[in-house]
């Protein structure tokens, strides 16, 4: 977006370097069927403005601390370990004592959608993700069920 001023000096905003036919020669446009991303962009803009610079950092920290709490607890369980030792944000790969597909079956029975089965890349590998949406109680329950397998 570009910022400019009108003849009375009031600020105005314009799309610049947008060469789509829908903008520059609408009367001759021939491709008029596709989707509008504007609503999603608006929703993202409202979200970012609602959380602000401090809030987004706080949310990132919540993701980080909760994911690390889960990773630490799972890696202490017998048969489970973290696959990598590099810094991570909110996703981490674990190696499980049995096939991830079997684990996910049990988890699903407990009404938990388990991690992504990555055993085609890492033996008995599962990719888990923890965000600010997950509570300590939920993480503890997951760890408890994994421990019981």
């Amino acid at each position: 977006m570009g910022k400019t001023a009108d003849v009375e000096g009031r600020p105005g905003y314009v799309m610049t370097m947008v060469t789509r036919e829908q903008y520059i020669r609408r009367e001759k446009a021939i491709s008029n069927i596709c989707t509008s991303e504007a609503l999603m962009a608006l929703a993202a803009a409202v979200y970012l403005a609602a959380v602000g610079k401090g809030g987004l950092r706080r949310i990132a920290e919540l993701c980080y601390h909760k994911a690390h709490y889960a990773a630490r607890a799972i890696s202490k369980l017998k048969g489970y370990s973290l696959v990598f030792d590099r810094p991570f944000f909110k996703e981490f790969a674990i190696s499980c004592p049995l096939a991830p597909s079997k684990i996910n079956e049990v988890l699903l029975h407990e009404r938990i959608i388990g991690g992504l089965d990555i055993s085609h890349m890492i033996d008995y590998g599962m990719l888990l993700c923890v965000t600010e949406m997950n509570t300590k109680q939920e993480i503890d329950r997951l760890v408890e069920i994994l421990a019981s397998l």
Partner: protein, 130 residues
């Protein structure tokens, strides 16, 4: 707020427009400084300011809610409003594209599709629970 103020113009340090979840786990050691971003260029506004800002913007807009809106090209038109309702249904909006098929197969079931209530009474269809 003046008419042409943008969110960064009314931003005040420390303000926030929502309530964040509590930190309910012990702190973990953060990654090395060089991996962390220092500052984000985002405004800090209260919830009231945010709502008023976007409501004021919406009043400057011309659309199907405010007047006759003939055919437009792709980025000038929106889908029917109820298309926005369906993805927000509980259990639908939070479905992950990679989650196991058996946990999402119901999304493609005709019974579920038919059980959606459409805004036109004559199109409201439901099937008895089996």
């Amino acid at each position: 707020m003046r008419k042409h103020d943008l969110l960064p113009d009314i931003s005040k340090p420390g303000k926030i427009g929502c309530t964040l979840p509590e930190l309910d786990v012990p702190l973990a050691e953060l990654p090395p400084e060089e991996l962390l971003r220092k500052e984000l260029e985002l405004p800090e506004v209260s919830e009231g300011e945010l709502v008023r800002y976007f409501t004021a913007l919406s009043k400057m807009n011309y659309g199907v809610d405010t007047g006759f809106y003939p055919l437009g090209s792709c980025t000038m038109k929106y889908n029917p409003k109820w298309h926005e309702d369906i993805p927000r249904l509980p259990g639908f909006g939070s479905t992950h594209p990679l989650q196991a098929q058996e946990t999402s197969i119901w999304l493609r079931s005709p019974a579920w599709m038919l059980s959606l209530s459409f805004p036109w009474p004559e199109h409201t269809v439901s099937l008895p629970a089996s």
